[in-house]
Amino acid sequence: MSPDLLLAAAIVAGTPILFAALGELLAERAGVINLGLEGTMLVGAVSGFIVAAETGSIWLGVVGSALSGALFGLAFAFLTITLRMNQIVTGLGFTILGGGLSAYFGSGYVGRPLPVSMARPDLGTLADVPFLGVALFRQDFLVYIVLALAIGISFYIYRTRQGLVLRALGNSPDVLDMLGMNVTALRYLYVGLGTALAGIGGAYLSLVTTPTWIENMTAGRGWIALALVIFASWRPLWLMFGACLFGLVEALRFRMQIGEGASTIDPHFLSMLPYAATVLVLVLISGARARMNAPVALGTAYDRESR
């Protein structure tokens, strides 16, 4: 088990989770908790696959997954922001809806191999750097895109005026309203952007990881991404390391079973670890919500009348 290959595998396993988690982070920072992440990823996975298979262009597939993810998210936004339905219940509904929709539209594509594959940029001498070359600089384009996004979103949230507005949106939307900003439109925007990212996260699985479409192929990664946002206490950069850590657990789960030094730890135990870690973090922050950074207005629909 060489550490550079292990890290490379962890990054690949963490990438779809990081896409979805960054998307969820944007929505939650805006005060909307979207439990439909798993369904959104599936919608993205199937539409990305269909577009790529039909057009023969993997990048059009990625764009298609983002658009359909956003469309799916806007339907969620309409119900929760405009109609002010309960976000938790609606989100759970969208998880199931997304699973059903993706299975329905994907039924003709099951088991079809994808004719195209995601390119890996040639980073020249960087790829030959000891350790980091293998671990980091031989990945596909989407890996670099998601890492750049994490850094970019972090900068956006903490260093820009719009980022300040985003934070206020999740903490005290009434203040923004008083300042004459359109809370509803802003929340639509961030939910839409967030679900677009979740869609790409799903498409990473169907276009890059396995390149094939199979029903329910996210296998719970949407839930891990949701947990990760809490785990990272709504900070994009922590999210990056968190996704890598969760990816590492996934990669380790198999590598620990191989070879002379095979571990005697039960693989059941290892596959439980990410969830156990999340529960632990939840327990730790349950008493200190504000300190741990959770948006104050998270989960509550903004109603100007009831201010």
Binding site: V110, P113, M217, A219, G259, A262, P267, S271
Partner: protein, 359 residues
């Protein structure tokens, strides 16, 4: 339009004549069969293969219907009763865990016929449980893997540590070591039937650990894809996975339930139904091999063909002792062999498997 009308009229007349002339035969031809699936028909594996068999008997004039993704819970009783009330005569409950519920319904409806997955834990006079001797197919793929490996390390991505998976892994290892005694088979348990990304990750990990042939017992082709991307050979499972990596897939085991489903229909039609267990295999085509890759040398292909013929003829019994487990215990004594009941209770890994059973 006119043509259709005529055809319809003719069909009605024919049907009427048939009913008048042979009331019994006509009733038997009117068989209706319902399938209950544990997964989605789009899983490209277990459930998909059952759905292919459903279409196969539909072509033989049986009216069919199915419900997918039914959990192994008391809901199964409702689903089955629902089908019976709609006049279905045969119920195929295609998951092992349905058995206790099928038993309930079967005992209440003694004139209907039920089919479940072995090993039988809840029998009734109108239940015939079925499965296939998958391990025979695995033995043959093991011969191919043992001949093709250069590193003498073969990887096996396994779903759950249950007897059918274990028996398949052991048979595969026995096959590989029959042609190449230096081979070790590294097993990785994903603990999931259905997690494409994890299955691929497991295959990648095995190749990085030195394996150059990757076999699997999973419901999706992800391990095959992972192996081929890393330049290793791959061996598929459940259905023919060649299309996913035409260059790198050596062969694989393929389920075909059409022979059994057809046989079941025939048995109900001619009244020869008998309860118990049915095991299909290489002989009736329930288990078969995906086409061999052209990279497999001709002598290996011949060897596989001969072994297949010998297993069918009953001349080759690779379970014949002595067999030693990978913990050094003698699990099959010299002169002894294993029956289906022993295989269904298998809880040891054969010598040559590197890895252990998760407890």
């Amino acid at each position: 339009m006119k043509e259709t009308k005529h055809q319809l009229l003719r069909a009605v007349l024919l049907a009427g004549a048939a009913v008048l002339a042979f009331p019994l035969t006509a009733a038997a031809q009117d068989l209706k069969a319902a399938m209950i699936y544990v997964g989605p028909v789009g899983d490209a594996g277990w459930t998909y293969r059952h759905d292919v068999a459903r279409q196969c008997i539909e072509e033989q004039g049986v009216e069919t219907a199915y419900v997918e993704t039914v959990p192994e819970t008391p809901d199964v009783v409702n689903v089955q009763n629902d089908f019976l009330s709609q006049g279905y005569d045969m119920i195929f409950a295609t998951a092992f865990g349905y058995q206790p519920f099928t038993q309930q319904v079967a005992q209440a409806n003694p004139d209907k016929h039920f089919f479940g997955i072995t090993p039988t834990i809840a029998p009734a006079d109108n239940i015939l449980n079925f499965y296939g001797k998958l391990w025979d197919g695995r033995y043959l793929t093991g011969l191919v893997a043992g001949a093709m490996t250069e590193s003498n390390k073969i990887g096996f991505v396994a779903a759950q540590p249950i007897p059918t998976v274990i028996a398949g892994l052991n048979a595969f290892t026995l096959g590989a070591r029959a042609v190449n005694p230096d081979v070790t088979v590294e097993v990785v348990w994903t603990l999931s039937w259905y997690d494409p990304a994890a299955e691929k990750q497991a295959a990648t990990a095995l190749v990085e650990g030195g394996a150059d042939v990757i076999a699997q017992h999973q419901d999706t082709p992800s391990a095959v894809i992972g192996a081929s991307e890393k330049g290793a050979w791959a061996i598929g499972s459940e259905s023919d996975m060649t299309a996913f990596a035409p260059e790198r897939v050596l062969t694989g085991t393929v389920w075909d339930w059409c022979p059994f489903y057809s046989k079941a229909v025939e048995m109900v039609r001619d009244g020869s139904f008998a309860p118990g267990e049915f095991y299909g295999g290489l002989d009736d085509g329930t288990v078969s091999l995906a086409p061999l890759n052209s990279a497999v040398p001709a002598d290996v292909a011949t060897q596989v063909k001969d072994a297949q013929a010998a297993i069918i003829a009953g001349e080759l019994d690779y379970w014949a002792g002595p067999i030693v487990s990978n913990e050094g215990n003698e699990v099959v004594a010299a002169g002894a062999t294993l029956g289906i009941a022993d295989i269904n209770g298998m809880n040891w890994l054969v010598e040559g498997v590197s890895g252990s059973l998760p407890n």
